[in-house]
């Protein structure tokens, strides 16, 4: 709190040097982990993005639903849509629903397009616990391979007005 010596620029003590070196090495390790995992890991943050509009994206969703609907969800009446492996599949977020219900095959690759029709939403796939941000005007493409099967819920985890907590979607993954 008080005035320092006139010249306080002094060499570091042995303990400061030791800790500084170890801490710095740790920082380098932390830095390298991200590019390392980027090239070698199977779980990376998607980067593929396109500019879109709610109208344009909505049209793509509808076309996708029209082409690949295989049934309808008992609880919500929403179409269950199953596209072949390798396809572009579409999911739209809107207050307060995720549309449609996606049906995927375990172990297959899909290009999942997510966008919002109105506000920011949060794509939170449970219990897998993968979370992505969904913005209107941006078509966010995640290339995914479901490694487990069963029924999954998409919780919305970005506040989107009073009905936010009712916003829950569904993904079904069937075994091969």
């Amino acid at each position: 709190m008080l005035a320092p010596e006139r010249t306080w620029w002094k060499p570091l003590g042995r303990m400061e040097k030791t800790w500084l070196t170890v801490a710095f090495v740790w920082c380098i390790f932390l830095t390298l982990m991200m590019p390392l995992w980027y090239f070698m890991g199977k779980q990376n943050v998607p980067t593929e993005t396109y500019r879109t509009t709610p109208e344009a994206f909505g049209a793509k969703v509808n076309a996708f639903v029209d082409q690949y609907t295989v049934g309808s969800d008992a609880a919500t009446g929403m179409p269950i849509v199953a596209a072949p492996a390798g396809s572009d599949i579409y999911l739209r977020a809107m207050k307060w629903q995720w549309y449609p219900v996606l049906q995927l095959e375990q172990g297959q690759t899909y290009r999942l397009h997510i966008s919002s029709m109105d506000l920011d939403h949060g794509f939170s796939l449970q219990p897998v616990n993968i979370n992505l941000q969904v913005l209107p005007g941006y078509d966010y493409v995640a290339t995914i391979i479901p490694t487990t099967n069963g029924d999954f819920t998409i919780v919305c985890n970005e506040y989107c007005d009073v009905g936010h907590h009712t916003m829950a979607g569904k993904v079904i993954v069937v075994k091969k």
Binding site: T7, W9, K10, P11, L12, Y50, R51, T52, Y138, D139
Partner: protein, 53 residues
């Protein structure tokens, strides 16, 4: 970073100390680095998002 020898009362302050004391330099660098690396680069990334085919 380490300097040799004990500091004398009559010697001028070490250059490093003068740099650490230069609040305007630190201020300018702080704002510049943050604005360029976080804001400018980030917005350039957003501006470069291509239109959907």
């Amino acid at each position: 970073m380490a300097k040799k020898g004990k500091p004398e009362a009559n010697e001028p302050e070490p250059k490093g100390q003068k740099v650490f004391d230069n609040i305007w330099l630190l201020f300018a660098l702080s704002l510049l680095i943050s604005t360029l690396i976080y804001n400018v680069w980030g917005i350039i990334d957003l501006m470069n998002v291509p239109f959907a085919k």
